[in-house]
Amino acid sequence: MDFFEQQERSRSTSRWLVLWYLVAVALTVASYAAVGALLSWRLAGAIAVLVAVCILWVSAYRMWQFREGGHAVADLLGASYVDPERASPAERKLLNVVDEMSIASGVSVPPVYVIRREDAVNALVAGYSPNEAVIVVTAGAVEKLSRDELQGVMGHEFSHILNGDMALNLRLAALLAGLTWVGDQAERLFFASARAQRAAGDEGSPAAFAAVFAAAVAFIGFPGTLAASAIRAAVSRQREFLADAASVQFTRHADSIAGALDSIVALHARTAVLAANAPGLAHMFFAPAVGTWFGFATHPPIDERIRRVHPRFQREDYRVRRHGRRAEVAVLDGAGNIVKNVRMAPAGVVASVGRPTREHLDFSRRLLESLPPRLRQALRSAPEAERVLYALGGFSDRAGDLAGDVRALARQSVLMLAELALPAVKAQPQSQRDRFLTEFASLVERDARVTLNEFVLLTLLRQRLREGAGEPIAARYRKLGEIAEDARTLLSLVARVSGDASGKAFAAGARVLELGWDAPSEGEKLTSASVSASLERLRLLAPFAKPALLRACVETAMADGRLRVAEAELLRAIAATLDCPVPPLVATFQTGVDE
């Protein structure tokens, strides 16, 4: 649809609008007159004339007020003009973005107004013709949105300029102001007199009478108010989708507009503008400026808008990049003390696979230094190292005198110590390694129940000591979909370990894989044997399909914003099995949006 078609369509909508307006006026007049008719026909006639005159007069007055176009709207909202010569850095950025969009859309640069001291994120454009349009932006939008996002919002506003929506919007605002005037005045009177009544404190005062009268008038005028919001919603909603799409046409960057919409959600930003005249102009704003009225929302839901303008928008990834939704990951020393907090996003945990940093290496060095000398000594010979591993599994009868030393270690160091003990065990011939594995497995199953700690340790040992450990794995499954049930089992286990009662954590991981699961596997399926079997199959997945699986596990484990030691250890065992080694740090606290 080109410029001229848009303009034409807009004009035909305008004609319909006038018709609906007349219907709504008739409705309002009739409802007031009907009440008068209860007493006498003459009274009904008088009321009808009075109400009709009020409505038409106010509409005409607003039309006259808006003759100056956009500037009048900016004044109504209490916005102040941004002088390019004296703009603050943030305003400078806004002006630049407006310039850029005007170049991209070929519309002349409109004057820019900012509603100062308005924390909400919103914007509008007003005027009768493209050449006298005015852009009004809230201070909140200028501060909270990134440069790209601001560009997306301005692109949206420029499309309103180009589509000829503005003149229609202004006319609509003027007409509806008349329609809701009687109700608005009554409402105002009601609140004022209710206040006066509370101040006076006695019953039956004139204030109380005024409050009852006002409430009655507002109630009778309700059909008019309702009709006004219905008309407003009908005209506005569809246009917002069009304007979003046009914004992409100008910026050629769908993340801009989708990101701006998403940031409103992610930052929990208010979009309702506090200025007294904002409700009457609600249909002109970028985002909803007043609450929803009986289902007549002026704007489509934000999620729906994002989905339409950018169906493949990666919200999670965008938020991590934009707001740094990160978990605080603690680097611990051997004694379990926090050495340092590192902020890390789930994506960052996956990205650190196979890339140990200084911190990770420091961690193992520090752990090694903090070990008692006898334990350190034990790590060097195979039989002793095996005893350390038995001790870690909690089999004190096999660990001998090392059990006490190992028990004294912090919980966080368990896996790390296992890694340190493994080289000596691994140095033995394969037959010895297999013997040790069988032995360890039989000990784990001895008491007929497998604890998470045992499961993690056994999985890790099996992975490190099996025949051909460390060699590339021959992939058997090309896509995760081929062994979807196994992935589900695994994810369910992670969700259960993270204490996911509501299924939210599972859903967070399932979203990454997009295999259409809505609930985790049943509890009885999650035995150590079935999970081990699933892991073995997942191990044979093609390498490029693995990061997504690991990512899903991390998302599930961190869905509550925390990564506990148990979760971290399970993740490490999973990662080791998939042959995507994760550095040993992780153990942790909370997450939050950085603002």
């Binding site: 850095p89 630049n96 850029e100 969009m101 170049i103 440069r147």
Partner: protein
């Protein structure tokens, strides 16, 4: 006068009206292309004017980065002279090609300079540098958007030129298809300002 004559007159009249309509439509679109081209030149000029200021204010901080700074200054010099050559010979494909290349090189050099800023916290804290940085980002965006607007208007014009019935008369009326700007390094140019000073 016979009826045949009147019928003939009406047909000729209708054809004349159609041709006038086509002519006016094409002229409007061709003017938009010229306007878009002028806009590109305005933005390139802005870019050239901004660079000396930028280099001057960051020079103190970037003494160990002489190479990068010199590269920017040099690229600017050749871009300015390429722009003058292009202005002297409008429509000369070789001059336009030279200009596009020089501007592409300048965009790349600027991108490298801005990427360097990341390593100098003092520099990022400096208010006037931050202002210049914003101006640079904006100018780079404006250059890119001006090129985009130019290509959009060329595409609309060409589409119109090739559609029926305009294609019957366009050649006769002296309208030739317009050239799109090639994306020489334009990806680079758009990428450059994305390096933010956060």
């Amino acid at each position: 006068m016979g009826t045949e004559f009147i019928v003939l007159l009406v047909i000729v009249g209708v054809i004349a009206l159609v041709v006038i309509g086509i002519y006016n439509g094409l002229i409007g679109r061709r003017n938009r292309i010229d306007e878009a081209l002028a806009q590109i030149q305005v933005q390139l000029k802005r870019r050239h004017d901004l660079i000396p200021n930028l280099v001057e204010s960051v020079k103190g901080y970037l003494q160990h980065e002489r190479q990068t700074l010199d590269a920017v200054v040099q690229a600017r010099g050749s871009a300015v002279s390429a722009a003058q050559r292009a202005l002297a010979a409008p429509g000369d494909p070789a001059a336009m090609q030279g200009l596009a290349q020089a501007e592409g090189a300048l965009g790349g050099a600027l991108g490298r300079l801005v990427a360097l800023f990341e390593n100098y916290p003092d520099l990022k804290a400096n208010e006037s540098v931050a202002t210049l940085q914003e101006e640079l980002t904006s100018t780079e965006n404006k250059v890119a958007f001006a090129r985009q607007a130019y290509n959009d208007s060329v595409m609309q014009y060409n589409t119109r030129l090739e559609s029926f019935p305009d294609n019957l008369f366009a050649r006769l009326l002296g309208f030739a298809p317009a050239e799109l700007l090639q994306a020489t390094e334009s990806a680079d140019q758009r990428a450059a300002p994305k390096v933010s000073l956060r």
